[in-house]
């Protein structure tokens, strides 16, 4: 068996599962209104604003480490990752970039670094330390699970980097979109909602950049010479299977400009086809994606987080 594929096996860390579910007492189960939505269960009794922000902080640690490594070859400063932090496995500088491409990497890396600092500052002493992060084996396992190949190196070229970035950005949007309505009334008054919505918008700007660049590359070169759009869509399909659907695959526009016969337009925006509203994911759905594991309760680690997230929201409830 492919050892990397093991990352995508369903994992159950029994001890953490019991700590997360059992200690919280009653769990709430809700049927999904007869739709395709999975039944949502949650340890609802003790999840507050700081837990939501710490959940976001874990994701920002991951994004910041990925982008900083891609842009510079090294990661976050020790002062930005808390006390007794985890370690980062993998990560490398993308070389051979044009200055315009390097500027893009630098911008996104900076943005995510500042999100880490901002959330850590907001949480103060309640901020979780950086958990163990894997940004090499995770990509290989994900590529294998998505059918891209047995390995995938997002640091090999600018276009490979775009696929790596694609993995994160739309997930960030759906995670913040899902979290925004969870913030308490007191939290709204304290500015958390404005902060979360503001970060979500930035993740959407990033996602739009990545999706536009991938689409433009495929338009210019075709999907044979430019296979990266196809890779991204394979990732999207995998994310859909792990994260409750909530995906819009990229398309290459068909038609001509002269006759205004755009038969199929681009799909830069990831949103519902009914209302063009961006998807929202539950924390469970996000955990399943970043852990690289299919639906089920008690999933506590895997994928990009080999030892799981730090904080209260770290084990799937369904």
């Amino acid at each position: 068996m492919d050892p990397l594929g093991k990352l995508y096996e369903r994992r159950v860390n029994r001890r953490k599962f019991m700590a997360g579910i059992g200690a919280a007492g009653a769990t709430t189960a809700l049927a999904g209104c007869g739709s395709s939505q999975p039944v949502i269960t949650s340890t609802s009794t003790a999840v507050g604003d700081s837990d939501i922000l710490n959940f976001a902080l874990n994701l920002e640690y991951l994004e910041a480490q990925f982008y900083l490594h891609a842009a510079t070859g090294s990661g976050l400063l020790a002062t930005d990752i808390g006390s007794s932090p985890g370690t980062v496995t993998g990560g490398a500088q993308v070389t051979g970039l044009t200055s315009a491409q390097q500027n893009i990497l630098n911008e996104i890396a900076y943005d995510e670094q500042q999100h880490v600092r901002f959330l850590r500052s907001a949480l103060g002493s309640a901020a979780v330390a950086m958990p163990n992060i894997d940004i090499v084996n995770s990509f290989n396992a994900l590529a294998s699970a998505a059918g891209i190949g047995s390995s995938f190196n997002p640091y090999a070229s600018f276009n490979s980097f775009l696929v790596g970035a694609f993995i994160f950005e739309d997930v960030g949007v759906t995670a913040y979109s899902g979290a925004a309505p969870l913030i308490s009334t007191a939290g709204i008054a304290a500015g958390y909602l404005t902060a979360a919505a503001g970060i979500m918008a930035v993740e959407a700007y990033h996602a739009a950049y990545v999706r536009t660049a991938l689409t433009a590359g495929a338009i210019a070169l075709g999907t044979t010479a430019f296979p990266y759009l196809t890779y991204a869509n394979q990732v999207s399909t995998l994310r859909a299977s792990l994260g409750g659907g909530n995906e819009t695959t990229l398309t290459i526009p068909s038609g001509t400009t002269s006759a205004t016969s755009i038969v199929t337009p681009s799909a830069i925006v990831a949103s519902t086809s009914a209302n063009a509203i961006a998807y929202a994911r539950t924390t469970d759905q996000v955990l399943h994606i970043v852990y690289g594991t299919a639906n089920g309760s008690g999933v506590a680690k895997g994928g990009f987080f080999p030892n799981g997230l730090n904080g209260k929201i770290s084990v799937t409830a369904s």
Binding site: T28, L30, Q37, I40, S44, A46, G48, D49, L68, A71, S74, G75, S99, A100, Q102, N103, N106, E107, A109, D111, Q114, S121, A122, G124, Y176, S177, P181, L182, S184, A186, A190, T194, A195, A197, G198, I199, M200, V202, A204, Y205, A208, Y209, T212, A216, I219, P253, T256, T257, T260, I262, P265, S266, V269, A270, A274, A276, I277, A278, A280, T283
Partner: protein
């Protein structure tokens, strides 16, 4: 009988109710540093008023993109409509208006990508109109009078771009025209998000507004990315145009900034696309240059939030600086429909 929209909203509610139960934990001890969120200028307004405010803006955006992509406004049938583009309703409360635009506004696109983006965005903004009208039901406001001709000339003049600007003239002009709207949409939805009521209905609207906010940011990112790609070094002048537009928006936002000034986001609250002339420090390394695809606060990198009055002042070109007086001008010559106007 659930419509698709209400079913979507029901699903959102169901999937969140569990966590909402525990969401009331107050964290007063946590202080959010560096956040100066725009103060509400809508005291006394309800969820319906906020959604109608958004609907006015979506009427504006959808008409712009429909006209650019298809040559017709959102309430007109057109055989060019691809799947997903539909005739939208524009009736409702308030005074229904028309759209002032030049003859044959369909952009003579030469770039397939840009043409496709226009079509995609038109479809999505049209759906936002339909969604908000469906959510509001009989409370939806009518489309107000909209000006997509002299408005751009006035804005161009105010921004120092020249006495006339035709956003329907070319691929590049279309992108600059789109640029004017999209970042404003982001700041408007961001500013509106905390204004919703905190009950189940308000949370449902908040979830939808957050989703639309993200889509506006996707659009803004798309437009800024494409401008950046067409003019990577700034030699064609497109980046300068975005900076001039952003500077004007920031000026108009500042003129309508809530008081005290301490709650106002920042000065400026808008950044155009730049060709890597900004330097930042990454990790422990030396300073490096970066691009400016994202329009956000330069320190915390959170998108800006504007009050309804600030947004009104931008879309009316400075018409909202007198309290309790209906703002008129530029894109909305007769003002918006609804209470927030």
């Amino acid at each position: 009988m659930a419509t698709q929209e209400t079913q979507t909203l029901d699903n959102i509610i169901a999937s969140r109710r569990a966590l909402l139960v525990g969401g009331g934990a107050a964290l007063a001890a946590l202080a959010m540093p560096g956040i100066a969120h725009a103060a509400s200028s809508t005291t006394g307004f309800g969820d319906t008023d906020i959604l109608n405010f958004a609907l006015n803006l979506e009427y504006l955006e959808a008409n712009f993109y429909y006209l650019a992509a298809f040559g017709t406004n959102i309430s007109s049938a057109n055989t060019l409509y691809p799947t997903g583009a539909m005739v939208q309703g524009i009736t409702g409360t308030g005074t229904q208006g028309t759209v002032l635009v030049k003859a044959s506004p369909k952009v003579p696109f030469v770039n397939l990508s840009v043409a496709s983006y226009a079509v995609e965005t038109a479809i999505e903004e049209g759906k936002h109109v339909a969604f908000l009208r469906s959510a509001l039901g009989p409370a939806a406001v009518a489309q107000p009078q909209i000006d997509l001709m002299t408005s751009f000339n006035a804005l161009a003049s105010a921004a120092g771009i020249g006495s006339a600007f035709d956003p329907f003239a070319s691929d590049a002009n279309f992108l600059i025209g789109a640029y004017i709207f999209e970042d404003v949409g982001v700041t408007a939805y961001n500013g509106a998000a905390p204004l919703f009521t905190t009950g189940t209905t308000g949370k449902t609207y908040l979830a939808a507004a957050a989703g639309i906010l993200a889509v506006e940011a996707y659009h803004a990112g798309l437009v800024r990315t494409t401008i950046n790609a067409l003019d990577p070094t700034g030699t064609l002048g497109y980046m300068t145009l975005t900076q001039q537009v952003s500077a004007l928006r920031a000026k108009l936002a500042l003129a309508a900034a809530p008081s005290p000034a301490s709650v106002y986001d920042a000065t400026p609250d808008d950044y155009g696309v730049t060709p890597g002339t900004i330097t930042v420090s990454l990790g422990g390394g030396a300073s490096v240059s970066r691009s400016q695809i994202v329009d956000a606060d330069p320190t915390n990198v959170t998108a800006f939030s504007r009050s309804t009055t600030q947004v009104l002042n931008i879309v009316t070109g400075g018409g909202a600086t007198t309290a309790n007086t209906k703002a008129t001008g530029v894109f909305f010559p007769n003002g918006l429909n609804g209470l927030i106007s």
